[in-house]
């Protein structure tokens, strides 16, 4: 059976570096599964995120060996926009993910790039904002939102592309308890809709919504046994 997300024997080394950041990572994520990857700073968590989302090698270069498969297709053979329709990523820093003057423009940006009809963009916009519970902020400026609300809008912007897989790269690290609760609620909703979620985390308190936890230590992915 084809998995939504599959990684086989992935190695990665940054340009000019003498050491591999990822060393033979193998990973399979099922449909409707919420998977967490934990690890200390510098263990390669964000690099793994970049590899999963195709940012490596399409945007950041380096020496990548092994394969990342999205629904059985290697990311290497897909272009970033094609990956974007199947896999969405929410980053750590809310400010650099929001660049439009209103929430509506922000969420519509992705579907507009996909050349969808205006009617469909409208429908996706409504649905994405509803999924994150931010319908009332449609005409607000993202600059005036709290950190948690900004992350929810960043998530809605990704949901506008309707991807099957979502990656959260320490997306809750800069937000308050209320914001975390809202994001976790959104993750539960995504799971119920059969989406695959990969959370990169360092805070164990955020793991209450996940089905499985893996530990990334020195670039090697292994089962998590309660200690970093």
């Amino acid at each position: 059976m084809t998995m939504p997300l599959e990684v086989s024997d992935l190695w990665y080394r940054y340009p000019g570096s003498g050491e591999d950041v990822l060393r033979g990572v193998n990973l399979k994520a099922e449909r409707g599964e919420v998977l967490a990857i934990v690890g200390l700073s510098g263990s390669g968590k964000s690099t793994l995120c970049y590899c999963l989302s195709g940012i490596v090698p399409h945007i950041y270069s380096g020496d990548m060996r092994g394969e990342v498969l999205i629904n059985g297709t290697p990311t290497l053979s897909m272009k970033i926009p094609e990956i974007a329709t199947r896999l969405g990523i929410v980053f750590q820093e809310p400010d650099t993910q929001l660049f439009s003057p209103t929430v509506e423009d922000e969420v519509a940006f992705g579907p507009e790039n996909l050349c969808l009809s205006r009617e469909e963009i409208g429908e996706r916009l409504e649905l994405a904002l509803k999924q994150v519970g931010m319908e009332d902020f449609r005409l607000s400026s993202p600059n005036r939102l709290s950190g948690g609300q900004k992350q929810l809008i960043a998530l809605a912007s990704v949901l506008g592309l309707d991807p099957e897989i979502l990656i959260f790269d320490e997306a809750m690290s800069q937000i308050d308890m209320q914001g975390k609760a809202a994001i976790k609620e959104a993750i539960k909703g995504l799971k119920d809709r059969g989406k695959t979620v990969v959370m990169i985390e360092h805070d164990f308190e955020n793991l209450d919504v996940v089905d499985r936890v893996l530990l990334l230590r020195d670039g090697v992915l292994q089962p998590f046994e309660g200690k970093l």
């Binding site: 974007a84 660049f99 209103t102 205006r118």
Partner: protein, 245 residues
């Protein structure tokens, strides 16, 4: 619902601003320049801009305007000498006239630009796109505007970090202060580069430039008011330029 100038299409505002700025640049007569400046102020206020808030914000650099007028007067002397210093004509009537004209010109450009600030960047981008300006170029301008405050914050943060290490920038000599500022350039630039790279990555992961064309959820439509403003602005500007030249 916005009415009058407040409800104008950004393209109409752009034409209005271009007409006022063009008049400001080409007209030489101080009387007409003053009239254009007054018109700019009235139009800016009518469009709902925060003109007076901006003037308050920029009052610290108002002395720069006076300095420009004086410098212009010193370096472009003509006519009767008003102030002599050791036989050198420091300020002349002709020089002062040119200096005042220069200040009026700058004021017209700045005041008229506030009219554009009453539309959000997405509306301006959409206006330009509907004028067949490539989306990438229009979007680049809007992103630059969006990230200016972030760059300002970055500079403030670096300056604060320096001050927290015990350097009181207000109390050290100017030459040393300049030296400290030169040290700030690197972290500010690297911070800006990192932020732009993160932004570019986000845009790519949201399918930016997936296809040669893209749909716009927002569509701007011009109404009778817009056509009236565009026609009136163009006619008045052309007539003024024709009469004064």
């Amino acid at each position: 619902m916005k009415t009058g100038l407040k409800g104008l299409d950004p393209r109409s505002k752009l034409v209005l601003v271009l007409c006022l700025s063009t008049l400001g640049v080409f007209i030489q007569d101080i009387g007409i320049l003053t009239a254009v400046l007054c018109a700019s102020i009235v139009l800016s206020a009518a469009s709902g801009s925060r003109l007076f808030v901006l003037i308050k914000k920029f009052r610290r650099i108002l002395w720069l305007f006076v300095a420009i007028a004086v410098i212009q007067s010193v370096f472009a002397p003509s006519g009767r000498a008003l102030v002599n210093l050791g036989g050198i004509k420091l300020i002349t009537a002709g020089g002062l006239y040119k200096g005042v004209a220069m200040v009026l010109r700058m004021s017209i450009v700045m005041v008229s630009a506030t009219i554009m600030a009453t539309s959000n960047s997405r509306e301006i981008v959409q206006g330009l796109v509907q004028w067949k300006v490539p989306y990438e170029i229009a979007f680049m301008v809007s992103v630059a505007i969006r990230f200016l405050p972030l760059l300002t914050d970055e500079i403030k943060n670096v300056v604060t970090a320096v001050q927290l290490r015990g350097i009181e920038l207000d109390r050290i000599p100017a030459r040393q202060r300049l030296k400290v500022y030169s040290y700030l350039i690197m972290p500010v630039v690297s911070g800006a580069v990192i932020k732009s790279r993160e932004l570019a990555t986000t845009m790519e992961t949201r399918a930016f430039r997936a296809y040669p064309k893209r749909t716009s959820y927002m569509v701007l439509t011009m109404n009778r008011n817009d056509y009236a403003v565009i026609t009136t602005s163009l006619v008045i500007s052309i007539l003024t330029l024709y009469i004064t030249h």
